[in-house]
Symmetry: C2
Subunit: 460 residues, 2 copies
């Protein structure tokens, strides 16, 4: 679908948006890629500022059957915002007002372009936070978080965007503007369109406003690091921690290969071990010691090498240093990192990690495993160092997904599907489920103009 | 749609289900009503026992365009399971196995006919619970809880079924069996069909298996009762409690009219006050005192009469006695109670309660308000004592809903829509939102055979 962009549509969108609409080469190039390193040129870029503009834009594009690709800050890693069929990239970066913060009702109303980190800064003095915390938090947008259901370490205690959003205003692919959800924390009034839109990667509707559920921020935090002689011991500790009543607010796992890399890059503050857990427990100061003790007790067990508890900010930073050294260490090794974020039930983590090690050996590819163990959400990063390894990594990836599905897991915990994992969807979902998802897509976007080529594989 | 039931369909379903299929008058009568006191005769009743039977049944009924009405135990109050257009009532009461309880992964897999209370009993020895706790918990089914997104007091801390369900197996109105969701607590693999089905009242699909998210049960509980000189003082206390970090596991409100009724019925253990809050805080024994103190501090403030903390089980029972006396007291007064469960943002509770008092006076109808204040979810019960009052109550109800919407609230927090509130849906949802919901309905149920006449008003 590389038909020429209709001249009359360009003129119409220029009338609608003025200088907030561009067909200039430089602008088109800037919005041709995202953090997936994939690239495709859009025909135009629109910087919307209001719900009404989005309605008019979608209607105009629909009349011409021109693709519309919603975009926050492009931090996703799956190509979800790459305009693979051309069309108009709708950037929400100028639609970035915090409309209202309402602590009495534990909610905030924001435009989609608000950065996650900016919202957190605005909430902090009021004693609240919005739980989703992707690593890209300082520069990713709330709209993008909602589109991909992006979470981070805190999800283990506080949930993902689907658990922390009350309602949305949006524009469907039909051009219809609508509201869904409530301003309340409970609701049983019709179908849950809010959660349906969250994680739909801009394929059903463009979100123009979100009512977010806020959580009071506990005032105290305790950081612990536990090292284990092997992966199995660490994974069993995770299961023990998750089976007792105090849920940590972070429960991060790092395997031996990742630890080795981090140590080579970050120096000998990084411990030598078969596996490591980073654990954080939050709470009010009076209650925190008992909560932290309960989690520490569960972390102890067969195979534990050492459990360290940070007593100062400096000690906390030191404990996290191994985890922080990991990303630059990976970049040094491989410019073509394939980073996945598969999920399995917590008890299947040992099988997943062991299985990945076997696949790494069989395909002769370096793989590191780390991530949000409390949710069973593991970043399985394949690190090919040259073209030959890259080809082997692609083959290995298919086997990794098949392993994950065989362990009752799923393809993605927080990155989403985009173009990167679209072809693997039939591994995770039956033809009937995919058929219903296509029907839902048609219900919102009858002409298929919203973010074509993403998330759902083509109908058989 | 009162066409005669096709003889060949009856024969086919008899072949499929044997003695689990009945067209006998007695059986049809037993399944003609639910707790809404509305009634309509089905043509037949099917007691299914497997997913495969449900698939075959829906396909057969679809061929004949015969309605299919899923039914748990009929405890809903909105008529959601009354077969208003005849057809086959599909009772899940014989499909009631707890398939698997998996504490390591904090999940349970159940058939829809399992009673909420039976699941809680099975979970208790393992230290877990499933948070949704409607008052009907001992005799309502999990399938019904999912269909109506039914919750109860604990939702303020632990959420409703939408927040506590990981995945579903179901049969769409098309006759397609499918799975959605995951066995993991995180997932970003396609559209969230799980939450879409929850609260859809059997109009999209029949749930045949649910994977529920379990929560470790805190081992200690502290019960408090706070009385206030007026409703406004109590409502402001609710806002203060919800703005600090310790969330109670119950925060129930009772207005002065309800207290008066309870006292007349339950005796003078019920306090005299302008309003009352029942508050429960749970946690581990070491942490509970600090948590309870934080909540108690927030409950104190302008207008507080007395804050009582129960120290023994007897004292706890005594504190709850006013709340328990309320239901029988209402029944004594009015056999035609209209019980609503509207929701408003917590800070709007005083305006809601004041507004309802004004409407009660204007329409000359007795109304009591009580309910789950932490969610802003109030049971507004109209208690007409005779036919004249009943007519006035119907008129008053419309004004109550209009008031709720004007306060940014919604029609139902946990009862759902059914037939009782269907006509009011356009008050809460715009034509565009309703249009999209109809499209979603068509996506799952192209011939409109699933629970016709419920939830969505007819397309304009």
């Amino acid at each position: 679908m590389t038909t020429p962009f209709p001249t009359s549509l360009g003129a119409e969108l220029r009338d609608l948006l003025g200088d907030d609409f561009s067909m200039a080469e430089a602008e088109r190039l800037s919005y041709s890629y995202d953090n997936s390193r994939r690239q495709a040129l859009p025909d135009a870029v629109a910087f919307v500022r209001s719900h009404e503009q989005v309605e008019s834009l979608v209607r105009a594009c629909r009349r011409h059957r021109v693709p519309v690709i919603a975009r926050g800050r492009g931090t996703n890693t799956t190509g979800a915002t790459v305009p693979v069929e051309g069309g108009v990239v709708v950037s929400f970066e100028r639609m970035n007002r915090i409309v209202r913060i309402d602590p009495d009702n534990r909610l905030a109303i924001v435009e989609p372009g608000v950065l996650n980190g900016d919202l957190q800064k605005a909430l902090a003095p009021l004693g609240f936070f919005w739980p989703p915390d992707p690593t890209s938090s300082p520069w990713c947008s709330i709209g993008g978080n909602l589109a991909c259901n992006s979470a981070g370490p805190r999800a283990v205690k506080y949930g993902s965007p689907r658990d922390n959003t009350l309602g949305l205003r949006a524009v469907a692919g039909s051009g219809e503007g609508f509201r869904c959800g409530t301003y309340t924390t409970k609701g049983a009034t019709g179908y849950d369109l809010t959660r349906l839109l969250i994680g739909s990667e801009g394929t059903l509707a463009l979100v123009t406003e979100a009512t977010l559920k806020l959580t009071p921020k506990p005032s105290a935090l305790r950081t612990m690091r536990a090292t284990y002689k092997d992966v199995g011991s660490a994974a069993r500790a995770v299961a023990r921690i998750m089976a007792q009543p105090v849920t940590p607010c972070a429960l991060e796992f790092i395997d031996d290969v990742a630890l080795g890399l981090a140590r080579a890059h970050g120096g000998d503050t990084v411990p030598v071990a078969g596996a490591m857990l980073m654990i954080e427990v939050d709470g009010e100061p009076d209650a925190l010691p008992a909560a932290a003790d309960a989690v520490a007790a569960a972390a102890r067990g067969d195979g534990l090498i050492e459990l360290s508890v940070a007593r100062t900010d400096e000690e906390t930073a030191l404990l996290w240093s191994a985890r922080k050294a990991l990303s630059p260490a990976q970049r040094t090794i491989s410019p073509h990192k394939i980073n996945e974020d598969v999920v399995v039930p917590v008890s299947r983590l040992p099988e997943l990690v062991d299985g990945v090690k076997r696949l790494a050996a069989a395909h002769d590819v370096l793989i590191v495993c780390f991530g949000h163990a409390g949710n069973g959400n593991l970043h399985v990063n394949l690190l090919p160092r040259n073209d030959a390894e890259r080809t082997r990594a692609e083959a290995c990836l298919h086997d990794v997904f098949a392993l994950v599905i065989s362990l009752d897991g799923t393809l993605s915990g927080e990155h989403g599907i985009g173009i990167a994992k679209r072809e693997f969807m039939p591994l995770a979902l039956s033809p009937a489920t995919l058929h219903l998802m296509h029907n839902v897509k048609d219900a919102f976007d009858p002409d298929g103009i919203l973010n074509p080529g993403k998330l759902l594989p083509p109908r058989p």
